[in-house]
């Protein structure tokens, strides 16, 4: 397993869930993401644990694009990944936000 943390500036405030909310499932080629309120309203935080080694730079690029394109201020994302492709990562994160905004 490889893990890392990332904190990025956020364009707009996100809607933090009352309790931690979990989306997705840890299975081959997939991931789960736990969304919680983070400490700083103008930042978003990521913690990633992944089975795929040597992809930290790709993760950072994917997460930076995600943070730049969505309302994620004040949110904290914890990810358990079992080898999801960047496309699946982006989609799961977008779906998680959509579910939060709908609820």
């Amino acid at each position: 397993m490889e893990s890392f943390d990332l904190e990025l500036p956020a364009q707009a405030p996100g809607i933090a869930p009352a309790d931690a909310a979990l989306f997705g499932v840890v299975s081959s080629g997939n991931l789960e993401v736990l969304v919680e309120a983070g400490p700083l309203p103008d930042r978003c935080r990521f913690h990633v644990e992944t089975t795929a080694h040597g992809f930290t730079d790709v993760w950072q690029a994917v997460l930076a694009d995600f943070a730049a394109g969505h309302r994620v201020g004040g949110l904290s994302f914890s990810i358990h990944d079992a080898g999801a492709t960047p496309a699946v990562v982006s989609l799961r994160l977008a779906q998680a936000l959509q579910s939060l905004e709908a609820s």
Partner: protein, 293 residues
């Protein structure tokens, strides 16, 4: 027209959401608690925030129920130490604050191999806690319609339940088909012959044998309606007495004497005049089965 939401395709969380009245679910030891498996972490294997099982309480058709839902996609729904402790805890909580029923969405191949002994212990703890709940008058109903079915220790747990609601796609058994093939050879059981696997372990044959008490479509709403019907029937747990045990034993002995040589559910269907059972729609199958009883 709204299309049925497949129970089989739904995650454990979606199953819980689809079964319960909207907005009524309260999760216990939710993902924010980060009760993850120390054994998986020690092995460098990925962990999950809920260790592959969702437990909590909510309302179904207005009645309070405790819900347990295993996530078949995470390690095949296998039972590890934390996973097992959450299930045991849910039953104990049920004993402390009795609900109308415990609804147990089983989707599991059995013990998590990574945590062998802890997993085995967890299964026996689950059974003990389940008996305690049933003794306290709380019925426990299994729903089996996920891709992993109910096998190994969880196959036994399913058979201890007071009702077993299955879809045709669900499977129930002790040793999984692949295990039987590996141990006994392909002549004994060809695990790649999926139609055979389902004729031996699938929902229809389990319903035929009476091990499943209900057969429903692979549709989340159909599972919910089956549970709602059980709730409205006001049934308690199946009485657990010497007489009921002896009756069950006699039934099994009769079946063993009659069917020990049967290697394929089709033989039983042929005998019952249900030779096209495998291709029938669920409603038609239920109708035909009822006509026979």
């Amino acid at each position: 027209m709204t299309r049925p939401r497949s129970y089989r395709e739904a995650t454990a969380r979606r199953r819980v959401a689809g079964l319960l009245d909207a907005g009524t679910f309260t999760e216990w030891v939710g993902p924010g608690a980060r009760a993850t498996s120390p054994h998986l972490a020690a092995l460098g294997a990925p962990v999950s925030f809920d260790d592959g099982v969702v437990v909590g309480e909510g309302r179904l058709a207005g009645e309070r129920v405790v819900v347990i839902a295993q996530e078949g996609l995470f390690n095949g729904g296998a039972v590890g130490e934390v996973h097992g402790a959450k299930i045991r805890g849910a039953f104990e909580r049920a004993c402390a604050e009795p609900p109308r029923a415990v609804v147990f969405c089983i989707d599991s191949g059995g013990v998590r191999l990574h945590e062998a002994n802890a997993g085995l212990l967890a299964i026996s703890e689950i059974m003990r806690a389940q008996f305690a709940a049933q003794s306290a008058g709380i019925p426990v109903w299994a729903l089996v319609g996920g891709a992993c079915g109910a096998f190994g220790g969880m196959g036994i747990v399913a058979r201890l339940c007071d009702a077993v609601v299955m879809s045709e796609e669900g499977r129930l058994g002790l040793s999984g088909p692949e295990v039987i093939e590996t141990v006994k050879g392909v002549e004994e059981f060809d695990a790649r012959d999926r139609a055979l696997v389902w004729r031996v372990t699938g929902g229809k044959i389990r319903r035929t044998l009476g091990e499943a008490t209900h057969l429903v479509e692979d549709d989340l709403t159909a599972f919910r309606e089956a549970v709602a019907a059980l709730l409205s029937s006001r049934q308690g747990p199946v009485p657990f007495t010497l007489e009921t045990l002896q009756a069950a034993q006699a039934g099994l002995e009769g079946r063993a004497a009659r069917d020990a040589a049967v290697r394929d559910g089709q033989v039983l269907w042929d005998r019952l005049g249900l030779d096209d059972a495998a291709l029938m729609e669920t409603a038609q199958f239920n109708r035909r089965l009822q006509e026979l009883s």
